[in-house]
Amino acid sequence: MKASCKWLRELGGLDASADEMAARLTRAGIEVEAIERFGRGLDRVVIAEVRAKRAHPSRDKLTLVTVFDGKGTREIVCGAPNVPAPGARVVLVEVGATLPGGLAIEAREVAGVRSEGMLASEKELGIGPDHEGILVLGDDELGKPGTPIVAALDLEDEVLHLSLTPNRADCQGHLGVARELAALFGKPFAPRLTLLPSKLLSVLPEAPLGTRALPVIESGNGHSGETASLVAPVEGVPMTVPIRIPAADRCARYVGTVLQRVAMAPSPFWLRYRLHVLGQRSIDRVVDVTNLVLLELGHPIHAFDLDRLDGHRIDVRLARAGERIALLDGTERTLTEDDLVIADARGPVALAGVMGGSESAVRASTRNVLLEVAWFDPRSVRRTSRRHGIHTESSHRFERGVDPAGVALAQRRAASLLTTLADAVCAPIGVDAEARRIAHATVSLEPDYVRAAIGDPSITDTDARTILEGLGCAISPGEHSGWRVTVPTHRPDLTRAIDLVEEVARVRGYDRVPTLLLRPEPRPDAGPSRALLVRQVRRAALAAGHHEAVNFTFLSAADLSRARVSTDAVALANPLSEERSVMRTSLVPGLLANVSRAERHQRPRGRIFEIGRRYLPSAGPTGAEERLTLSLVAFGTRDEWLGEGPSVDFYDGKGAVERIFDALGLSAAAHVADALPGWLHPRRAAEVRLAGTPIGHVGEIHPDVADAHALATRPILAELDLALVLDALAARGPRQVRALPRFGAVVRDLAIVLADDVTLARVEALVRETGAPLVEDVQLFDLYRGKPIADGQKSFALRITYRDADATLTDARVDEAHGRILARAASELGAQLRG
């Protein structure tokens, strides 16, 4: 919401500067995000009177205008189509001035004629939207030739950009902000508003049956020295319109007031300017008045062309399914039975509280008006606004809650403005249909509770009372020592004692709340936090050389199928786009996107990991199971000391997994698996098991998946479920150590030639089993394929460590064991000693 400081000062009688207001409001929870200043940078821009005009000697579109600037006359070359006749006043930008847009004005020749300045449009001056022609002042505007326009047109103003929290519906108009400011500055608040209509119909009509009359002049509150003139009603135009509210739960009150003989014309400059600084466009006098009242009181109102209301009646009812309405924004909408409408005898003429219909809208030909001032249910307006995607100044305010007690004020204020500005004649009464009354809320409050909840014993009863009364609350004695607080209807957010506590704390200022510390009581059975266990995994992955990624958890169904991960996914009902419409079932698609991005940016090598959740459909309460997962990718070439080595392969991925689990003090191992996920190469991947239980997979990407991502490399991927890992980490005790050996070891190498399909695991198992208990360790230190070894065969070079824990080993014992191993390898694995 934007608030003009000048307007606030006019309404509340406050003399604070814009900066003071902004600081105080922000401190009280009404955040001022920006202060926009108007009427600056218009030095040497003055009012001038047109004395003469003549055609330019050579250019059709230019006019030579002689103006008087208070001191003398000068001739200006003007390109505008609307140069007025002599006697009218225009705005002259003197030579030497610089306009807010940066345009510097110099004396210069235009098509051979010297121009001593410039006549400006509103837009060029930054004081309005009009750029069709130069600004011509109306007769009712003040300012003699030579007067600077800032003074003459009262242009100086500051506009506060308020960021209102949704609970502060009362500050959606200048009146509410002025009231809040008065309370914050500790000043009494008596709004200064002219409420007297200047012209009334000379006949007093009666309200139709079932409704009451709401007089436009408040009885017993005459304005001294001001009178309204009486005008005869127009023949055939009703003075009242019957109003019915069948949808009583949606509309608490509806007041319709007839104004006759309106003069449709452009608004005077001050009104246009006021709308301009608040970011609104001037339309015509009637619409501008309704907008002005909305901005002033925060209460949206509407004006219908009375002569276009079929049957001259108003029904506030729910729409019938399929009913249609053409709206002011040029669209046509099909309504549902949940939409509240204002209808005439024929059908809907407005979407209640949201937008008027185009059929019934005021226009240049409008002569008589029905003014609507109503209170619509916030939820009803909100639903309709959202359903049709129409967000207006009106719906915005009704959704948050308009003061139900402000209806009469809005009616009178609008009647007064329409009679003065649009020359309308107001019926003496409006028809007041009140479906239900919204009562003042009362709240019980103990002053001690205020002190305890804020934690400030220094707040006195008087402090609290002064603040609450300043905000419009009425306080009477309640039970015991407590208060019975009656809350004003413009503060529907105050419903409980704690709400009043906040008001006291807020108006005093949170900077005055004391600062106390407290120490939460530690819980002995809290156990290790999962977050801290996850951190250990993260440290290990980082230490193994992987960068950490945080990818979006939602992606497209196509991303899932492209990566060949499960497509049985949790889907969003209202995604922002198809690209982010399902929850990931694997972290692999995200990492592949990271690899693809790296390749596109000429960085086709690296290692990345992510720790995050996968979301799998389940039968649980939310329909989803969230599985914490660690995924890794290595791609491109391996690091060498200088330069790059060969491309990473399966063993880099396996090594990364081993490194991570080593660092965690857990042992995970890769095992051959027949069933592998679709994203892995069927021949170059393994299952990872933790203490025998499968927790995920590691391996080379399936070449088809790499192709589907247009990858130049074959990344090595791993995806591991962390649930079991975290359990194991939590259960893992400190590392246990063995005694150091007392006797020396004997190391023997064994080079054998085997068929290609004999795995190291088989060889190693055979060595350990056969050489037991002397074999302490077996390491493969060379793997060779190629000449002179026959095709389909390979050579393993093993280094076997023999040790007897209890005695010094003799060569004879080692020879015997070594020989036995070789013999068994030969017989069982077909191994031959490599020559």
Binding site: R27, A28, G29, E31, P166, N167, R168, P378, R382, R386, A453, I454, G455, D456, R496, A505, Y510, V513, P514, T515, L516, L517, L518, P520, E521, R523, A526, S529, A531, L542, A543, A544, H547, E548, A549, V550, F552, T553, F554, V570, A571, L572, A573, N574, P575, L576, G590, R597, A598, H601, R603, I608, F609, P617, T622, G623, A624, E626, D639, W641
Partner: protein, 370 residues
Amino acid sequence: MTDAVQEFEAGLARLGGDVTATFEACADEQALRAANAKLVGPSGELTGLLKLMPKLPGDRRKELGQRANQVKQAIQTAFDARLAAIARALREAELSGPRIDVSLPGRAVRPGGQHPITKTIEELLDVFASLGFEISESREIELAEYNFGRLGFPPDHPATDMQDSFFVKGRTGTQVGGGGDEAVVLRTHATAIQVHEMLARKPPMAVVAAGTVYRRDDDATHSPMFHQIDGFLVDKNVSFAHLKGVLTTFLKRTFGAEVPVRFRPSYFPFVEPGGELDIGCTFCRPWVGAGSDAQRARTDACRTCKQTGWIEVLGCGSIHPVVFESCGVDPAEWSGFAWGMGIDRIAMLRHGIRDIRMLYDNDIRFLDQL
């Protein structure tokens, strides 16, 4: 007989000559060993001489033997000295020789870079843990009831709308969204941790949780997925002043004791009174030389705080009685406070990241810098 004695004595005299000079003439260890072998090696002179021993007369044998031993020892001593000198010279040459190129790259496994989001979360959680809060977590796919209803959001609050929050499709394929409590949403804040913890156990409790949250915004400054830390404390006689004390301490520990903190009212459905805490802009640092022209120029040019000198960091408040009531905790007995803070912007501030998209693109050139 005499010949043998003469030959022996002559040999000893030859060998007892200037061995040192002979050895000095050897430039390296190899030459030295060769020279030594000529004297005492298997076919060396002294070895040959000692082969004469049996031929020596018995009365001279002992004396001549001792002399031969002395000569042998002298050779050994001279050899050892020369060997040490050669080794030393080599070592000196190494130590004063050409330097290696220390600018060649080191040989190491480089650790990876930690993502700014998780790094920031870890550090902030550590501060809360040091203040006595337990670290917990809860689900991201959440019942609307927990995300909104039990937290006191009115049924038609804009956040409960399809416009602002992501709803999950029902298992039958139809949409469950639309605001009812039975709907399932991607959590819009981490605040539901309050509901989970309060339903699970009895106060007192002090819990903090970090995680991924989701809102239907996507523009230059908003990402539809982002991160938050939420925490709360419930105990007896907890006041708004405690909230101010604990959170101010947290902010000072996190951003520096010298950074000013501003506390102002705000509104969230699940707290009352509600507020926001701002810190002095850590980019233009308006408290340094406050009021000076230089400071004002810095702040006026600051894009981080949009020239205000302040950065909003967290929303907070006393826990609303409605939340206690909906979680089966008696608000007459227990009181508490809660807060939530966005992580992404703090991470961006700390790492000098200007564009929020960098956080989630995971460009390797970005990760390389971390």
